[in-house]
């Protein structure tokens, strides 16, 4: 049994590595994706271009605007001279936010009344807008607090320097809240899924298409030997990709890896079983390489979208959340992020690993049942 599997594996490796495009897909694409996610994709919101329109042109208005400008989150880029001009800047996309203080802003404040600060946000990108609003609330609250303190001090004739509750935040696991730390472990999950899925789904269907499948089916090879011969090489390639991405992520992007590497590899093996199984299954139901390619993407895109890679699962409608339970990517993301950032071990991650093991064996079993040497 061993000899046939070894021959199959050697053959697959020769074929994959003789094709320069395949080599690029396996070694260059993962690193490229990693660079994109490491450098370009960032959900951190900083330097929001902001316009300030202060109708009264007051000192206090300038003070408030300066507080926005001095924070890392906002860049004051324009000082429109009318409300309409501020609106136009938003329309054109020159600024993402406009702060508007109407006539009497300063007077109201000085008189101890409530002054209104209008904030107009470009809400087309709802995620960013939400975060910007949070920062605005923070800056405004600080300012408000100071004004209150000053008023209290004036009223009582003393200075009040103490706040009632002081907020001290600590972000655990990703101290500087860098989105790269969150995404790079995710890229491992995504790339490994994509590459093994593609290679495996093509592997069988290509042989069907060019006619070599029939020749193999006329030999005494057993279906199990055939399946192992078709999955082991791509499993190995998947592992190599995990290692490449991990090395680049840790040494180039300085993503911390706090958990056990051994556990990471073990979980990767479980995860690869699901990817290889799905790939094999696609291969058995597809008649042509195009069909296999299409099916791969029909599986892959929803799998990424519904995995928590970019959008939190908790925000999804409940029926969609149920759907994510059959998504292997979902579990593996929890595992890689857990191992990389939190440094947690199997004692916490075992439910996810068990889920992957069950799914992997199931889909591999279903797929292998579909590979028969005699067609009926």
């Amino acid at each position: 049994m061993g000899e046939r599997i070894i021959r199959m594996v050697i053959k697959e490796f020769i074929q994959v590595f003789r094709d320069p495009r395949m080599k690029a897909v396996i070694f260059v694409v993962p690193v490229l994706q990693l660079l994109i996610f490491g450098y370009a994709v960032s959900t951190d919101v900083r330097h929001v271009p902001t316009a300030v329109y202060d109708a009264g042109n007051s000192a206090i208005g300038r003070d408030l605007a300066a507080r926005f400008g001095s924070s890392d989150y906002f860049d004051i880029t324009d000082y429109p001279r009318s409300h309409a001009e501020a609106e136009r800047l938003i329309d054109r996309g020159d600024v993402r936010m406009a702060l508007v203080m109407n006539e009497g802003f300063e007077e109201n404040l000085r008189a101890g009344r409530t002054a209104h600060l209008q904030v107009i946000i470009d809400g087309t990108d709802s995620n960013t807008a939400g975060m910007v609003l949070g920062y605005v609330a923070g800056v405004t609250a600080d300012f408000s607090q100071e004004v209150m303190m000053e008023r209290l001090g004036r009223a009582r004739g003393m200075t009040v320097g103490q706040e009632a509750v002081e907020l001290r935040t600590r972000a655990w696991f990703n101290e500087n809240l860098e989105s790269r730390n969150y995404y790079i472990p995710g890229v491992i999950a995504m790339m490994v899924m994509l590459i093994t899925l593609m290679l495996t789904s093509m592997a069988v269907v290509r042989e069907k298409e060019i006619g070599t499948m029939e020749q193999i089916m006329v030999t005494p090879i057993t279906p199990l030997e055939f399946i192992l011969g078709k999955t082991i090489p791509f499993g190995i390639i998947g592992f190599v990709d995990v290692i490449i991405i991990t090395v680049v992520g840790v040494f180039w992007f300085e993503v911390p890896i706090r958990g056990s590497l051994l556990l990471l590899f073990f979980a990767t093996a479980l995860y690869l079983m699901t990817a290889l199984g799905v790939g094999l299954f696609i291969s058995t139901v597809s008649g042509t390489q195009q069909q296999a390619m299409m099916s791969t993407f029909f599986f892959f895109f929803p799998a990424v979208l519904l995995s928590g890679f970019m959008f939190p699962i908790a925000n999804m409608p409940e029926p969609v959340q149920w759907l994510t339970y059959i998504n292997p990517l979902r579990y593996f993301l929890v595992i890689v992020r857990g191992i990389f950032l939190k440094g947690i071990g199997a004692d916490i991650l075992w439910p996810q690993m068990a889920a992957l093991a069950v799914m992997g064996t199931t889909i591999l079993w279903v797929a292998s049942r579909r590979i028969t040497k005699t067609s009926s």
Partner: protein
């Protein structure tokens, strides 16, 4: 392999394969003796490949029984696979592997004993005349070489029975001839060769033939027997100028069943040979054709095949009308 001699290598009874309503192979029965070259002759779509695929255990029959190399085609297809070699219509080795890599692959899949691997590989390379191309990618080889390499890989494990499905389609005549020399060589060493073809000249090389048409086996026997016993009609060979125009004229003459171009002349099939011969001798010059000669000839395999097929069509015509 000698122990197989005198036995039956392939035998099928009422073998049938349906695809939905379509009957690809319609209850055919035949047998092939060990060491024989059995030719399966028929037009495209007649059911040749379907039959071969059932015999090789990659397509399950929907009816009938059969054995190949002593194993049942329904219940023991995997045993059959250890005892046969198969070469499909389409070249089906890996074009992105070299000649040697392809041989190594199949030699591993067939689990050829380690001490024989080298010897078998060299045998294939020499047989296929690929010594200079052993490290070439298979995809760049000319079709004659590909064909011989495919044959070599199919017989690496020295199977007693080999199935060749239109092995020479798309190969130049010289390579075809060489390929048949190899088939004779294998047959000489006791291998049973089951070969499908639609080349009539190749059919002549076979020990025995089965003629398949629309899924039915319409005749079988040695080529000589088919030509002498199964041809009910006479064949006249006509050599004249403008054979194309003459063909139309002749086909319309009374008593003529069929007129077809054959080589540089025409073959005229008729029930009444002598009368038609006289008619032709009178009519053709009268219509302005310069007649070189007209003579009765022995039927070629092609004549036999065409005649059998046409008789079949005539017999079936009324039935098919009813079926509609």
């Amino acid at each position: 392999m000698d122990k197989e001699q005198g036995k039956t290598a392939v035998s099928v009874e009422n073998l049938e394969r349906r695809f939905g309503d379509f009957v690809a192979v319609d209850r055919i029965s035949f047998s092939v003796a060990s060491g024989e070259i059995f030719g399966f002759l028929g037009p495209n779509g007649a059911g040749k490949s379907t039959t071969i695929r059932m015999l090789c255990g990659i397509l399950a029959p929907t009816g009938g029984t059969g054995t190949v190399a002593g194993f049942d085609i329904r219940s023991q297809p995997e045993f059959i696979k250890t005892r046969i070699g198969y070469m499909s219509q389409k070249f089906s080795l890996y074009e992105d592997l070299t000649v040697e890599e392809n041989i190594n692959f199949y030699s591993g899949i067939y689990r050829i004993p380690a001490n024989r691997k080298r010897e078998r590989k060299e045998w294939v390379i020499e047989m296929a005349d690929l010594t200079e191309h052993r490290s070439s990618l298979t995809g760049v080889l000319a079709s004659g070489w590909k064909q011989r390499l495919a044959l070599g890989c199919a017989v690496l494990h020295e199977p007693p029975v080999i199935f060749l499905d239109e092995p020479t389609s798309g190969v130049d005549p010289v390579s075809r001839r060489r390929f048949w020399d190899l088939i004779y060589e294998l047959s000489g060493s006791g291998v049973t060769v089951f070969v499908t073809t639609h080349y009539m000249d190749e059919a002549e090389y076979c020990d025995r033939l089965g003629l398949i048409y629309r899924g039915e086996l319409i005749a079988s026997g040695a080529p000589e027997k088919l030509k002498t016993e199964l041809m009910r009609e006479d064949v006249l060979e006509v050599h004249c100028d403008k054979p194309h125009e003459a063909m139309e004229l002749i086909a319309a003459m009374p008593g003529v069943k069929e007129a077809a171009l054959f080589g540089r002349g025409l073959h005229v099939v008729t029930d009444k040979g002598e009368q038609v011969l006289r008619d032709l001798q009178a009519t053709l010059p009268a219509k302005g054709f310069a007649v070189e000669r007209i003579e009765p000839v022995a039927a070629s395999l092609e004549d036999v095949f065409v005649s059998l097929v046409e008789n079949r069509d005539r017999e079936e015509e009324p039935q098919r009308e009813v079926r509609r």
